[in-house]
Structure formats: structure tokens, C-alpha cells
Amino acid sequence: MFLDSRLTLVALCCGALALPACRGGGGGGGSSDTETAGTDSTGGTTDTNPTASETEGEAESQDETGNDDGPDPGTQAPSARPRVKFKTAQRYATDLSNALEIPRESLCTELDDFDCAAVHRIALGEVDAFGLRLFEPLENMPLTAPIAVDRIGLTACGERAQRDFDAPGQAVSFSEVASGDASASNRDAVVERLYRQLLLREATDREVEQVTAMYDDLPSSNQAQTWAQMACFVIATSTEALFY
């Protein structure tokens, strides 16, 4: 699957780089705003603990090259007891399954046979008491955790896009663009639906604008379906989708 550099950056900011923040469930000031701050992407750095000023309504965030790097994190007062927990493999997979209306067993499989969430359960915060005698989750999330998240999110979103584009009349997430018209207004409608399905809230205007605009950076071949998968993927691997 093709990913341009911008999408990769957004995905890393939203998903991969956020994962270490789950350790310990709190203690550092201000981290709980990842719970509510939209598709949090705080620039091209590894800072996972944005300061209050970074989370309070900056119109637009930019990396050191001056490039726009994703949706504005929105407005949220910092918590006095900042704690977030990673959903863990089964919770994350179940949420994706419910949100995208894909049967749990069809969500993502490795080698067409093994459930991705089960295969990657240790990396994604679960235990294996009877196999590995691992009775508690790893204290620190391994480097493979973001890869596993991306694997599950990308596959699930690809499966939803494929189903919707194969049968637009029965589409669950992408009906507007699956029927052949990927206009900006139709993409807006899809993004708004994805936010409701995946994050259980309305998207902000800024978020809609940013995700919709990704379309223009994608290759023209199968552009609408690729955008649909990527739009879903960006939201489904955001910190807001991964932590609670």
C-alpha cells in the first residue's frame, strides 16, 4: 500500500509516537489531553507530552520545515490527574470491529489464518500466562507496538474500504465516495462519519478540512479508495483512538 510522506508523518504522530505515553498511566503533567484532543499531532518531533500552550487552540501546527503536519489538536483544559491507558490488543480490535462493522474474525489476519490482535497481543499490552508465563503486561511498550497498531488499523480500514467500494449500496463508512463521486463535499461527509464511528464524537471543521485535503496528495490510480482507507487509518491510529 502506498503512503506518501505526509500520511506517514501523520500516522506516526497520531499513533506510533504516542504509544510510550501510556506507560505508568500518568504522572506527567498534561498528557491526558490526548484523550480528547482530536487527532493529536504536535509537530515533527517526538514530544509526546504537549504543553498546555500546544493544546490550547493553536490555529495550525508546523514542523521545523514549515510544513503543515496535520489537524489542530483542539482545545482541552489540562487534567489535574492526567492518566491515559492503552486500549490493549483485544479492546482495540473490538472497537475497530464495532466501528467499521467488520466481523471480528475478518478484521485482520496474519498469514490468512491467525488473528492479528492475538498474534500481537504482547506488543499491544496483553499477557500470555499459559504460553510464555507472562503474567503482567510489559512495563514498557516494545518498538513493535506501533507497527502492530498500524498493521491492524491499516488492514481493518482497507477491508472496510474494499467492501464499501465493492458494494456502494451497502456501504458502511464510505458511501459518498464509493459511489464514484469523491468531491470535497462528499469527502467531508465521509470524514464526519469516520469521526463518529471511530472516535464517537463530531469532527471539528479543522479536522474535516485536514483529512479531506489528503486526497490531493494521493496517486491518481484508485485514488478514492486509497483516500478512504487512509482517512480511516489516520483516525483509527490516532492517540484518541488508541488510548482512553
Binding site: 505508568g24 498511566g25 500518568g26 504522572g27 491526558s32 484523550e35 480528547t36 487552540g57 483542539g74 482545545t75 482541552q76 483544559a77 489540562p78 487534567s79 489535574a80 490527574r81 492518566r83 491515559v84 491507558k85 486500549k87 483485544q90 479492546r91 473490538t94 472497537d95 464495532n98 499477557v127 500466562a129 499459559f130 504460553g131 508465563r133 503474567f135 503482567e136 463518529r196 464517537l200 482512553y244
Partner: protein, 476 residues
């Protein structure tokens, strides 16, 4: 928690493992004393290292300036006064007196760690929607309940219902009740099973019964079943240590747990049956699996006692926690020639050995009557030239400073202790809140475990209903 060795007062290795407990007796409301004891690093630069930090050095200078090292008795007797003497000082020079830091849960030896009052920003006049970080938030709490206990997020409709409801509390508690009956929470491999892993320490290679391993010795399914049974359906959680019955399980779309008739229990295959007679049973700590996995072939099974102490009272003796000794009149005797009287060993063994004596009459692997059976004369089989007096080890012992005649009495004292209630509630607090209570949450936590032992009559689910109402859980 505490490090490996609390070396106490002098520069040589003169362990003072009582120190954390004395600190808690002096400052019982310290956050670090909520169901536990402070780390040795409260006074030392690191656990196991005799060098004191700036706070420890202040205490030492105030109490025994220039004097020789105090004896253990002098140390215990003098520590409260020493602590009091430096209360108003500021060891780390961060502007906060030592006692302020102790009571607030910050480190009196770390200038970067200061008491922090929770502050929240009033967002009631905000134009944009955002979580109210000053008050319980129904939507936030519903998400947490459903993810923690049901295993998935709520639907958008469910969120809208609770956030627009006149009585969101009713919805939240109904949701919790529903979730507590899901397979995700109580089913085979569910959350309750995961809580039990560290207590049971399963090893499939020696499992008997269903899915037996290559060398079937005992069936830990019994242990998981009892754990879930005692933790659900309004049952008394003290049965974790008091149950004299076996719990069976019927797998299916909905896992069912039931108290097994003794005839059914006894009719099970030889490698799975619980051999200990009914009157000698004490829940999880007399299961066949518990003895096979922990006692194995040991005469005086200290590991078994330590695992019981760690699992159900929250004290890890390996970390010098819970060192509550018998009265001084009770002399420690080295019945099995393990050199426990060595000064560096006795600090822990004065607690551990009497804690372990009541476990000595239960077989580990094999033995007369079979694995895990009670055998009053068991130690006779261990007598040889390496431990000629081991059969003189008494069955009576001590737990939490109280004398007990046998393991059933040991379990009764344990199950009715504050330590049991606090440890059990701490398991769920850490599971749901995500970490141990901080300084500002200590009072909530203490109230919760005290209510668990009184108002809730040891009903885990009733306690959880209160837990989700705490500020620690419900305020974003």
C-alpha cells in the same frame, strides 16, 4: 515498592527492615502507607545501599549524632522521635518542610519532587466543547467502564444517552452491572483471570485435568474458578482464603461457575482431585496446585508462605514488606539448618519462618495421601543428617503478629485483616484507575477498602460500584 534490602542506620550492612513499618506507624496517613510501606529510598540513596540521602542523613544526625550504630531495638524505639525532630526541617531545600512532603507523598530528599495540589481549570465558560476536568464526567466515565469491564467502547447513542440524562449515575451503574457479567470480565481468560495469574502462577506443562500437560500434577483451573467465584455475584471475597469447597466451571457462550459437590470433587481423576480434607482447606492457599507449584519438595515451605503473603496481603517479603515479627519472647529456631539465625538473614526470617510453619503439614508434590494432602507427620520424612531436627518444626506460627495454631487459623486471621481488604482493593484500583493512589487519592482509597470490609461485606462488585464514583476514576 521497597527495594531488596533496607540497610538502616549504619554504613555497614546492618539491615533495619522494620524502618518502613515504623515510618508508617509514625505517619499512618502517608500515601506510601496506603496498603503498603514506603520504599527504602525514603531515607537511602537506593535500596540495598547503606548510604543515606539528605533526608535520611538529617534523621540520623538528629537522633544519633556521632554515636555508634544503634541496635535494632534502639533503632525501632528511637526512629519516631528522630522523625519528629526533623519534621520542620527541609532536607532538600525545596521550600517544603519534611513533614509536608511526607504527608503529601512527595520525596523529602528530592528538590524536584514537591507537594502538588490538584488544580483544575474551570472551563464552564468555554466556547468549545471539552471535558470538565474539575468534576465527574458521565461520558468519560462510561467510556472507561465499558472499555475496562466490557472490553469495548460505548456506542455514540449510549454516550449521548448518558451525557443528556438527568440521572447519568443510574446509567453508569447499570452499565457496570452489565459489564461485570460479560465474558470479557469473568469468562475463561477474562479480566478476573488475568488478575489471578500472578497469584496462581500457572504452568501448563504440569497441569492436570482439561488440557493436561506432559507431566500432569495438579489442575490450576480449580484456582481460577475459585478466584472468579469469590470475586463475583455478591460472594464473600474472603473465600479466597476461607473456602473449604471446590468451584467447578462450565464453559460455553456464558461461562458458569458453581460450587462443586464434594462427591463430584472427590470423584475426579487422581491427578486433579483436591486431597486436603475439607476441614483443612483454606481457599486458594490450600489448593492442590498451590502446594505443587510452590512447596514442591520443601520441608519448611517459605516460598509457599511468601507467595500467599504477597498475593493476598500485598506484602512481598523479598522486598522487605510486611515484616511483622512475633513477640520478642518467641525465639527464632533454625529447624531445617538453613542458617536463618545469621544476623543478615534473621531480619526477614523472624517474620517469614513463623509465617511458614503452618504450611509445613501440607504435601507439595507427592507424599503420603498425595500431592497437597494434609499430613500431621509430614516432616518426619525429611529428617536426615542435613536437617536432623526438622521434624521439630511446629505447626503453629504467626501472621501479622498474631499466633495461629494451623493454616486454617492463619487464613482466618489473614482474611479478616485490614491488609487483606486493602490489598484486594488495591488490585482493582490499579486495574481500573491505572496506578496506585497518589497523595490526593489516599483518603478515597482508604475509605474504599474500609467500606469493602464493612458496608460491602467483602462483595467485590459492590466495592467496584463505589470505585467508579471516586474522583480518581470519574473526573477527567
Amino acid at each position: 515498592m521497597a527495594g531488596l534490602v533496607c540497610v538502616g542506620w549504619v554504613s555497614i550492612a546492618n539491615a533495619q527492615p522494620q524502618a518502613p513499618a515504623v515510618v508508617c506507624e509514625t505517619y499512618p496517613t502517608m500515601p506510601a502507607c496506603a496498603g503498603a510501606v514506603p520504599d527504602c529510598t525514603l531515607c537511602h540513596q537506593s535500596a540495598g545501599v547503606s548510604v543515606r540521602n539528605v533526608f535520611g542523613a538529617q534523621v540520623e544526625a538528629a537522633a544519633w549524632p556521632g554515636e555508634d550504630a544503634p541496635t535494632a531495638e534502639e533503632f525501632v524505639a528511637g526512629l519516631p522521635d528522630a522523625l519528629a525532630e526533623v519534621e520542620d526541617l527541609d532536607a532538600d531545600d525545596d521550600g517544603y518542610a519534611n513533614y509536608e512532603e511526607l504527608l503529601a507523598g512527595s520525596d523529602p530528599a528530592d528538590a524536584d519532587d514537591i507537594p502538588g495540589g490538584a488544580t483544575c481549570e474551570d472551563t464552564s465558560n468555554s466556547d468549545a466543547w471539552q471535558y470538565d476536568v474539575c468534576n465527574p464526567d458521565a461520558g468519560f466515565t462510561l467510556r472507561k467502564i465499558m472499555l475496562d469491564v466490557c472490553g469495548h467502547s460505548p456506542t455514540l447513542a449510549e454516550l449521548e444517552e448518558v451525557t443528556t440524562s438527568d440521572d447519568p449515575s443510574e446509567i453508569l451503574h447499570e452499565t457496570l452491572d452489565t459489564c461485570l457479567n460479560t465474558e470479557f470480565w469473568r469468562g475463561n481468560g477474562g479480566v478476573l483471570w488475568q488478575l489471578a495469574h500472578k497469584k496462581i502462577l500457572p504452568l501448563p506443562a504440569i497441569k492436570s485435568g482439561a488440557n493436561e500437560g506432559g507431566v500432569p500434577l495438579a489442575d490450576y483451573d480449580d484456582d481460577y474458578n475459585l478466584y472468579v467465584h469469590a470475586s463475583s455475584d455478591g460472594n464473600d471475597a474472603r473465600d479466597l482464603l476461607l473456602a473449604q469447597y471446590v468451584v467447578g466451571r462450565v464453559d460455553g457462550d456464558t461461562t458458569e461457575y458453581y460450587v462443586m459437590d464434594e462427591a463430584e470433587q472427590a470423584a475426579r481423576p487422581n491427578d486433579a482431585v483436591l486431597n486436603a480434607p475439607v476441614e483443612r482447606r483454606a481457599g486458594m492457599i490450600t489448593s492442590r496446585w498451590f502446594f505443587v507449584a510452590n512447596t514442591m519438595f520443601t520441608a519448611v515451605p517459605r516460598t509457599t508462605a511468601a507467595q500467599a503473603y504477597r498475593s493476598y496481603l500485598g506484602f512481598d517479603i523479598a522486598k522487605l514488606e510486611g515484616l511483622i515479627e512475633p513477640p520478642a519472647s518467641e525465639v527464632l529456631i533454625d529447624y531445617d539448618n538453613k542458617d536463618v539465625l545469621e544476623e543478615t538473614c534473621a531480619g526477614c526470617h523472624r517474620t517469614l519462618d513463623p509465617l511458614a510453619y503452618p504450611f509445613t503439614r501440607y504435601n507439595g508434590i507427592g507424599g503420603a495421601g498425595g500431592s497437597g494432602d494434609y499430613n500431621a507427620n509430614r516432616l518426619g520424612g525429611f529428617v536426615d543428617n542435613t536437617q536432623p531436627d526438622v521434624d521439630e518444626t511446629p505447626e503453629a506460627g504467626y501472621i501479622l503478629g498474631e499466633p495461629v495454631s494451623d493454616l486454617v487459623e492463619w487464613a482466618e486471621v489473614a482474611a479478616n485483616s485490614d491488609e487483606f481488604a486493602a490489598a484486594l482493593v488495591m488490585d482493582y484500583w490499579e486495574l481500573l484507575v491505572g496506578e496506585r493512589p497518589n497523595a490526593l487519592e489516599t483518603e478515597q482509597f482508604v475509605t474504599l477498602w474500609q467500606d469493602f470490609a464493612t458496608t460491602h461485606a467483602y462483595d467485590v462488585e459492590a466495592m467496584l460500584h463505589d470505585l467508579i464514583d471516586t474522583e480518581a476514576y470519574s473526573v477527567p
